[in-house]
Amino acid sequence: MMWAGVLVASLACYGLKLAGLSLPQSWLADARVQRTVPLIPIALLAALVATQTFSTGHTLVLDVRAAALAVAVMAVLLRAPFLVVVAAAAATAALLRLV
């Protein structure tokens, strides 16, 4: 079941790419589609940041991950590279758990 979901999602993700390369230009050129599609990853990524920082399962929690996110925000504002942002957040959480 688990791998079926992974496989279906993988095929669908690939299908979207192939469709983009194959469909006539006019297909997705509709102004509303052009406007909406870029907003979807923005909303989903923001929702992922929020839920993975402030929850465990079904419960809203405030723990060291919030501090780690604050450090990540600072790193992003300083235009740090991807790996530095991630490592800074992980190190913050690890250090705060030590004290």
């Binding site: 999602a9 192939l18 923005i42 990524l45 690890a94």
Partner: protein, 172 residues
């Protein structure tokens, strides 16, 4: 699946106790932008047959950015293929290394690894927030996701957010 944000989302939803299908839907929705990239790239690449089948797997944020940043079409095609091959190889080697190393790490929390995914999502999100509307959409999405989280199964907040933003984009 070779599109980072989707991979992170699928793993994130499952790791957070959500169903694999909720994670799969979130992953596919995140991958929808690659269709727009493909559309953008198709006139530049002009690939047919097997070459198109291969090129499609490489249609991601990074290759699109590298390809369309070139003024000369042949330089753009070279940028697409070289970025695609390099990323595909190193990304998957990195994934393999992570999968093997996971058995060595006894408690990921002591290394702060539970704080890594949100930071990764943030780093993927940040370059898309350079205007006011995307920033407002991102903040609203975060608030909605947190607000509905205690009341719906894990992973479903993402689907609610996706539905709302699609409605917003379409009706606006």
């Amino acid at each position: 699946m070779f599109t980072g944000a989707s991979q992170f989302a699928l793993v994130g939803v499952i790791g957070g106790g959500g169903g694999v299908w909720a994670g799969a839907v979130a992953a596919v929705l995140l991958g929808s932008r690659n269709a727009l990239y493909g559309l953008r790239l198709s006139s530049l690449l002009e690939v047919r047959g097997l070459k198109r089948v291969l090129a499609a797997q490489f249609v991601i944020d990074e290759t699109t950015a590298m390809a369309i940043a070139r003024d000369d079409p042949s330089a753009g095609r070279f940028a697409f293929w070289s970025t695609g091959f390099a990323l595909f190889i190193f990304w998957n080697l990195g994934t393999l290394a992570g999968a093997l190393a996971a058995h060595v790490v006894s408690n990921p929390k002591t290394l702060g690894l539970d704080a890594a995914p949100p930071a990764a999502f943030l780093a993927l999100l940040a370059p898309r927030l350079r205007a006011r509307e995307p920033l407002a959409v991102a903040l609203a999405a975060a608030v909605v996701a947190i607000a509905v989280l205690p009341f719906v199964p894990a992973g479903v907040p993402l689907l609610i957010v996706a539905l709302l933003v699609a409605l917003f984009g379409y009706l606006r």
